[in-house]
């Protein structure tokens, strides 16, 4: 009897700990993954063909501070009325939310380039998708190793 009771207590304890851990982790660390990024891209472009190339995605290989990670994007394009970059979307596959930034360019932009600073929760891939005026879609991917995550508090 006593042994059985002890087992039950242990089980209860373990179960309790497990649910506590789940409750503590689930809301804050429900991170996006590669599938979430793919779903976002699908939402934007459906089943259209996505090719590699054209995009120069400049991110550090190692970011010491995940709170401020520089990102510089440049898409090869003459930026004329007929041939320009319409939009660029940037995603991360290891942040709580997949989206980082979306840019809309016009021929007046002159160059389809922009830089910003982003937060990264952990080591992960940055995925960049660019849509051209003719409807072609290009993508680029780069991994950033993060020493100190830029999330939580």
């Amino acid at each position: 009897m006593a042994q059985r009771a002890a087992q039950t207590r242990r089980e209860t304890l373990i179960a309790g700990m497990a649910s506590f851990a789940a409750a503590a982790i689930a809301p804050s660390l429900a991170l996006a993954d590669a599938a979430a990024v793919e779903a976002e891209i699908k939402k934007l472009y459906g089943d259209k063909k996505v090719e590699a190339g054209k995009i120069k995605l400049d991110v550090p290989q190692i970011a010491e501070n995940g709170l401020v990670v520089p990102i510089n994007i440049e898409v090869e394009s003459p930026m004329t009325a007929a041939d320009h970059v319409k939009s660029v979307h940037v995603f991360a596959d290891g942040n709580p939310l997949p989206g980082i930034v979306s840019y809309t360019f016009t021929p007046e932009s002159g160059r389809a380039a922009a830089s910003a600073r982003m937060r990264l929760a952990q080591t992960q891939n940055i995925i960049c998708v660019a849509e051209m005026a003719d409807g072609k879609i290009f993508t680029a991917k780069s991994e950033v190793k993060v020493t100190i995550g830029g999330c939580g508090g």
Binding site: S28, M79, V101, S109, G110, A113, A116, R119, G150, C151
Partner: protein, 109 residues
Amino acid sequence: MSNKPTPRVRVPANAKKDEIVEIKTLISHEMESGQRRAADGKTIPRKIINTFTAAFNGKVFFEATWHPAVSANPYQSMFFRASESGEFAFSWKDDDGSVYESKAKLTVA
């Protein structure tokens, strides 16, 4: 942050026709992601600047949609092809509905 966000913009004052100029912007804003928790365990509500637009003589030439993954005090740079003299208008839209604005003149020789 209790202080009103202050935008800072760096644009060249003069440009040649068809010259591509770089514009750098910075605004002070905490960009509260909505992921952080306060000491009492409650989630701190999201409050970020969600849209940045850059216009010249009333025509928008660049727009950025920012997600919570954009760092605090967001920096944004972009380019512009100078065609005529005029005025840039930059605006930042906050989640709470506020709009912060900054203007800059450009003379095309």
